[in-house]
Every structure is written in C-alpha cells, then in structure tokens.
Symmetry: C2
Subunit: 214 residues, 2 copies
C-alpha cells in the first residue's frame, strides 16, 4: 500500500521538494536560494519555483528580500522551542474546540489510526507512521470551526520536521501511547483534559527534538 503522492500542480511538487531539501540540509540556513539553480535542479522553469518559494515563505522556511531573492531561515535551538511552544498552544486550543463536534465515525477512524500506528511500530515503518500521525492530528481537530487557527496548525503539522529521522524511532512508541490517552479523554468527553494531553504531547516532542539537536 505504498501510497504515491498526487500533485495537482507542478508548483506543489516543487514546494515539497524544496522543503525536503531544506530539511535535509541540502540548502543550509542563511544560504541564498537562486531561482535559476532550483529550476534547473528540478527540471522546471522559474515560474513554479517562484510560487513555491512564496509558499515556503508563508511556512516560515525562507525569507524574501526585494530584488535579492529568497534565503533559508536558520534553525537555532530557540527556534525549535518557539515552534513547538506555539504549536502546542494552538493545537491545544483547536482540539478543545473541536472535540464535541467529532462524529462517531471520526472517533472510530481515530481508533483505527492508532491501531495502524501500532502496526507501523512493529514493522518499523517510519514513513507510514508519520503519515498516520499526520492524519490522526488533522482528524482530531476536524471539528473545530475556526478556520485560521486550523490553517496555522496544519502548517505546523505538515511543514515542520516530523521528518527529523534520528528522532522518530525512539519516540514512536511513547507518542502512540499518548495518542491512546487522548482517545480516553475523547471517551470521557473531557475537552480540557484533551487539550492538556495534546499540549504535553507536542511539548514533549519538541523537547526530545532539541535534545537530539544538541
């Protein structure tokens, strides 16, 4: 079931590839991203590259200087802390507001996702785990009718280094146990508890990441 990602436009594809390159340090913080270079590298024209860079600017991965182009934003330890603090805060609020609007179908779906992640752990299939983890977090906040905050957390969830490879293996298990606790909070219909769990979940992940980076 090797799901191949489908892209509607070239631009989305390019966005993903550049982001990947930034995470994998092909382009290092502070480095200038020359549009021609990227275009040649990916075999496209400069136009989708430009739009991709705009998207990455929105995600906070690059910065635009007029007539000077895009620069990779640096990742200091503090940046990671900030990121996870923010994500914890926002995602906490989102799930709290979301909970009571989740349908029975959503809840069973969440259960199966947790089961799938258990399997992923057994198979040591990181990519699949990451995908299911994304789906879990996205579904958990589906019920929230606040659009902007959902957009933001979506960016955090998709855009940021869940990929950091050295991190994942150690924490997959702990992570999923925490997911199970969330399911419990869901059964108890306790939004505050759920929010707390989500906040802690993300902060823990953040702390783990900063420690690995040291």
């Amino acid at each position: 079931m090797n799901q191949v990602k489908e892209f509607h436009t070239l631009q989305e594809k390019v966005t993903d590839m550049i982001r990947e390159s930034i995470f994998t340090q092909v382009y290092k913080p502070g480095e200038r991203l020359i549009q021609d270079e990227l275009a040649a590298r990916f075999g496209v024209s400069r136009m989708p590259v430009r739009e991709a860079l705009r998207c990455l600017e929105r995600e906070g991965l690059v910065a635009f200087l007029p007539h000077k182009g895009a620069q990779v934003i640096g990742f200091r330890r503090e940046d990671i802390e900030e990121l996870y603090y923010l994500r914890a805060l926002l995602e906490g609020i989102t799930v709290q507001k979301s909970m009571n609007f989740l349908t029975k179908k959503d809840r069973t779906e969440l259960n199966t996702l947790v089961e799938k992640m258990d399997q992923d752990i057994d198979n040591n299939d990181m990519d699949s785990f990451i995908t299911h983890n994304h789906q879990f977090h996205m579904l958990l906040q589906k019920g929230c009718n606040w659009k902007k905050i959902k957009l933001l957390t979506k960016e955090f969830i998709e855009g940021y280094p869940a990929h950091v490879p050295s991190l994942i293996p150690k924490t997959m298990f702990v992570s999923n146990e925490e997911h199970k606790q969330m399911l419990r909070a869901l059964e108890l219909k306790d939004p505050i508890m759920l929010r707390q769990l989500v906040e802690n979940h993300i902060m823990r992940a953040g702390n783990a990441l900063t420690q690995v980076i040291e």
Copy 2:
C-alpha cells in the same frame, strides 16, 4: 507630512491594492478573483497579480483551489472573533517576551508615537492614526526574539481590518488611552501586566468590531 508609501516591487503594490479592494468590499466574500480581470484593472500583467494572490493567501484573505483560482474568504461574525482571539493571544505572548529587550530609544519612540496619535485624534486623521498605531504595535514587540510568532502577529496587524472605517472614529480615543497604560506597564517593568493590557486592548477592539458588524 503626507508620507507616500514606497513600493520596491510591483507585486507589493498590487498586493496592497487587492487587499484594499477586499476590505472595501469591491470584491465580496466568496467571489472569484479572475487574474486577467485584476491585471487589466491595475494595468499590469498577470504575473505580479499571481504572486500578490499568493501573498494574500498567506494572509488568509483568499483561498486557492487548483485550476480554479482564488476566492475571497468570507468574514462571518465568528471569523472576526477567532481572529481577534488569536491575535490577542499571540501578541500578548510576543510583547511579554519583548519588553525587557526594548532599549531606552525604543521607549521614547513609543512615547512620541502615542503623542502623535493624540494629535491624529485632534486632526481626525484616521489614516495617520492607523499608520502610527501599526508602528506602535510593531515597535512594542521588536524585542521579542521569536521569529515565527512575530511574523504571525505582523500579518495580523497589517493584514486585518484595522481599516474598517466605521469603527475607527469611535475608538481612537479609547485605544490611545490604553496605549498610555501600556507605557506605564513599561515603566514599571511588568511584563505580565503589559501582556494583560495588550490582550484586553485587542479583545476590546475585536468586540467593538463584531458589534458594528451586526
């Protein structure tokens, strides 16, 4: 001293103009933004329009559907509430973290800005007030070394309807009195108090806005 805004690129100019058109309801929520039309309207080619739309997407004013273009995002009452709640939360955190890193020069600058706003009130110069208000809020969070959150609050401050014209006259005075309280918190070196003031300041503005909209 009628400060004329300087644009580095056409794209920035177009972005501003489209945003203005959205705020002034030239383009209404849900309406599709046809690139050719915008390009003709502003006398430029479609290219800067496209990039402008991307920027506005980032600001949350429009949404992109692949191969269907951009749509103006709707503003329901609830959206406003969300927006101001978020902005209050984020800007509160930002100024709390910023305060202790503001220089003496920054503080005097903040004072003069408040004085200028008092003058603007006397002259009933809304545009100038809005500008100074922006500058005040931006400067107040200058000391914060968290980049992402600053980017977000910047978007909120610049991107959202401080412009709503019917609102401003009534609240300019109250608003600036609250600014003065913030300056006091600054003198007392009390970041928690400052944060509280900022949160209330923004929530009050939000509530005023929702009431006007009804």
